[in-house]
């Protein structure tokens, strides 16, 4: 990693301070996206710091007026995928939400817990998980999510649809892997996915 000031940076001082302010503003969103991707808060925060260093080093390439959130999410997901290949993440989930009750739908005895949702989310293949996070949690449009992931809009729609269907089924049937097995399942799903991502130069064609 090189964190040196970019050479040939011709931006004005105010553009530079705008960059810092916008990057600061977007950090909570980076933390939320990272937490959804990799589960454990401390690991997610490491990923965010890595993202901030990379974003800082690349700041001359940021186009003022465009979305800082989208720009930094690209950096974050690339850092995540790279770290995944180095095996740093194991699909662990955030215990901090374990006690929070999400919702108790009418006619159902068991309320859905946020922790169940998060664990179910972490069992999804990485590409579907990130697609669902971007659209369903981050509020990006399909078009924006496609740009962030470097794939076609239809691919994002398909991934989101499959992710939703899988989560709905898991939650409806209470078929969420318990903690002990969750890591294995999530991890093997992720590794399969990564093999494909690696084989396809970072962009998988699977929906």
């Amino acid at each position: 990693m090189s964190e040196e000031a970019p050479p040939g940076d011709t931006r004005t001082a105010s553009e530079k301070s705008d960059f810092k302010r916008e990057l600061t503003d977007v950090v909570p969103h980076l933390r939320a996206f990272a937490r959804g991707l990799c589960g454990r808060p401390d690991v997610a925060d490491d990923l965010v710091q890595e993202t901030m260093l990379k974003a800082w080093a690349a700041q001359a390439r940021f186009e003022p007026g465009t979305s800082m959130r989208a720009w930094t999410f690209v950096i974050l997901r690339n850092a995540y995928l790279t770290d995944m290949r180095r095996n740093r993440f194991r699909g662990e989930y955030d215990e901090g939400v374990a006690e929070r009750i999400l919702t108790a739908p009418a006619g159902q005895e068991e309320p859905i817990h946020l922790s169940d949702l998060h664990r179910a989310l972490l069992t999804l293949p990485a590409e579907r998980r990130e697609a669902l996070l971007l659209v369903g949690a981050g509020g990006f449009s399909y078009e924006e999510a496609a740009q962030i992931c470097g794939c076609a809009v239809g691919t994002i729609k398909s991934r989101v649809g499959r992710a939703r269907a899988a989560l709905t089924e898991m939650l409806a049937q209470g078929n969420i892997p318990r903690r002990a097995t969750d890591d294995d399942i999530a991890h093997s799903a992720i590794l399969e996915e990564l093999d494909m991502v690696a084989a396809g130069n970072g962009v998988s064609s699977r929906g």
Partner: protein, 94 residues
């Protein structure tokens, strides 16, 4: 946070709008996301930006290595124990 403002443009294909009906857990995803967005930001993040901004990239990346004790680090961190980065006093209590 001001960073959501740019996202009003894509109207028609906003996720979920055209689906049959959003699953009952859909709101939970946003809750998971928003609950993190609304957390107090640890000082480490602003400190990191301040150090980067003051051109002190070396101490910034030292700190980066420090906070990653659990991962296998890249080789390049030999100089990592040259003392704490002397940030502006409100640093990282001890």
């Amino acid at each position: 946070m001001a960073s959501n403002q740019q996202h009003g443009s894509g109207g028609s294909s906003r996720g979920g709008a055209s689906d049959r009906h959003p699953p009952e857990w859909a709101d939970g995803l946003k809750q998971l996301y928003d609950s993190v967005v609304e957390e107090d930001l640890p000082d480490a993040f602003r400190d990191l930006l301040d150090r980067l901004d003051s051109g002190d990239a070396a101490s910034a990346s030292d700190n980066d290595n420090e906070t990653k004790q659990k991962g296998p680090n890249q080789k390049g961190s030999e100089q990592n124990d040259r003392g704490r980065p002397s940030s502006d006093g409100r640093g990282r209590g001890t």
